[in-house]
């Protein structure tokens, strides 16, 4: 379950973002900011072990 936290951001920057998020297709400013953070984090964090990922898929009916 995703718990939420509060961070303080530059108000002017948020206003700029607020003007475009819905046009781009995000449902909220929060979703846009989370996506931007995820994109950067995926470059910075260590990748999951392949064995772990494969184990979690085991048993899915659609895959052999």
């Amino acid at each position: 379950m995703s718990e939420k936290t509060t961070v303080k951001l530059n108000k002017a920057l948020c206003e700029r973002a607020r003007n475009v998020v819905q046009a781009v297709g995000y449902s909220s400013l929060e979703e846009f900011i989370e996506h931007a953070m995820e994109r950067d984090l995926s470059r910075l964090e260590t990748a999951d072990s392949k064995e772990d990922l494969i184990r979690r898929m085991k048993g899915l009916g659609y895959l052999s």
Binding site: S2, Y26, S28, L53, G59, G61
Partner: protein, 679 residues
Amino acid sequence: MTRRWAREALCVAVFGLILWMANSFSTHSAHSLAYVGPGAGFAFLGSFLTLVFSVVASLASFLIWPFRWAWVTVRRRGTTGKAQVERAIFLGLDGLDPGLTERWMAEGKLPNLVRLREQGCYSRLRTTTPPLSPVAWSTFATGVNPAKHNIFDFLNRDLRTYAPALSSAKVHRASGSAKASVELRQKSEPFWKILGRNFIGSTILRVPITFPPEPFPGRLLSAMATPDLLGTQGSFSFFTTEPRPPVSEGGTRLPFTVHGEELRAQLPGPEGTFIPFCLKPASVSDERKLEIQGQSFLLRTGEYTPWVRLRFPGGRFRKIWGVARFLLTGTHPNAQLYVTPIEIDPANPALPISHPRYYSAYLAKLFGTFATLGMAEDTWALNEGAIDRQAFLQQAKLIQAERELMFFNALKTTRRGVVACVFDTTDRVQHMFYSCMDSDSPHAMVIEDLYRDMDRLVGQTMEQMDDSTALFVLSDHGFCSFRRGVNLNSWLERNGYLVRKPDANRESAYLDGIDWSQTRAYTFGLSGLYLNRQGREAKGIVAADQVAGLKAELIAKLTNLMDEELQQVAIQTVYDSEVVYKGPYLDAGPDLIPGYAAGYRASWSAAVGAVTSHVFEENTKCWSGDHCVDPILVPGVLFANRPFHADDPGIEDLAPTVLQLFGIAPPAWMEGKPLIPAV
């Protein structure tokens, strides 16, 4: 509203009084044993504090309710005035096929669906590209296309390592810590959150892609992608006295050891733990007595036990609870025992599977233990012969019965708001019995009987309806046969788009052994073809200015791809993601989506990212029906108890429709259009 708050205040007061009386009684009992120690003082203080707390809580609740009532009324103004219904019910029948439904309606075999159509409306329902349950139900929930909700397939891949992974949930483990958290990867916002912000509650039961459960003002029980206790999507265990149990893909085959007349074995649990158990002879030759963790059950051949609660060590002072059913499948010449995947115990969940967290425990107390695994019907056990068709059907019916109890309870307890429940027996049984239909098989009638049973469910649901309730019966996609698999990795290799390393083993899967420095396209999962793009994939080689040309080339070559052996078209069209998708997560999805012809699908080997020596292969598994084809071949169904107006309704239209029914304007980012006009 007034009555509700008064009732709540009264409940708190009564609860407090009961606690106080209970404490007082226990204190008096202690006195009667002639020992008066410090416990009596604590008991008195405890009961006194309980009473004080209850009185204060009741008083506060009573004083606050006018302000809460005023606040809620103000917030609801502008929505309730335009609301057209008090309740909206979504009865989801996963994979209910319009062709079969229309045929059996015409033959008079589905009278309740006919009645619903006559009372309101019926239409085929346009599904998503691709027509897969996680994708389509995500679109149902959010009213947007996959590039806005980020679910494109059952699988996605890690762009750094090309490792395929489940698309719907991600496990995060902080470095150096054993503690893990699970994150839902579905983006955008489901309609029940928007309703909740407008003080309209929802009960969401087993709608796919709701694990882990997200908080919102309502109740939710997670579905597809909820793991078992081993962290997999369902791993059964199969015990036998056979000297060399065959290797199993979807489960684990383990030996019994013989000790006189007793058979002993160890059931594997999480984190390398085991539970010892034994089978003892019973009075009848084809029965056995199961003894496990101090519990005893009589096993009759071909008959499942009730859910058995199992406890595993989970570290110091902690236990992990799971549940499983046992099925004795044979006693002679070899004893054979099938054990379902060990599922998360809803009464004491090791991971959150509901919101609020106690909701699963509440349901378990109300109706007993129930299946919690994402895809609870064990299709792999049937594919691999661990159970037979009859045992699979029996399992599916048990799960269906559990879910119906929850659904009707939600209908009974919801006076205002939404109840959405998805039944997936329809999907699983069609997957496993499709080849039996229209044949001499003893199971030829299974799918027709299933549709009749779903008609019975619809009839019972209609009995709960009134004029202020909108009922929608829908499916996310239809069905067709799956006779031949296509391995597009093998086709890409043959045509020079994919290169394997010289020492690569053809048996390896999960995109192992691919020379990424020479590979321009690859596939895995059930629906997508991906370009190895510079700046996106870690070892991408396709530059941005080459993308359009390469896509056009692949579309031209793959459209009407022939299965030469059968002289049939295997792929009838290829969709360009930039044409069918629009949204911020476009880059996470596939670049091309092959629209397979009826009878074809991504092969079992292609789904796990293998590169085999052949492009086409026979599907010999029991899993003989599928829907991972061109979406125009497998629309879903939509019935409603009131007329709706749309030429081509799509599954993305349901979320804005339910908002409109409650007088809430759909947000601008939602793409679907309300099927019912505003008032």
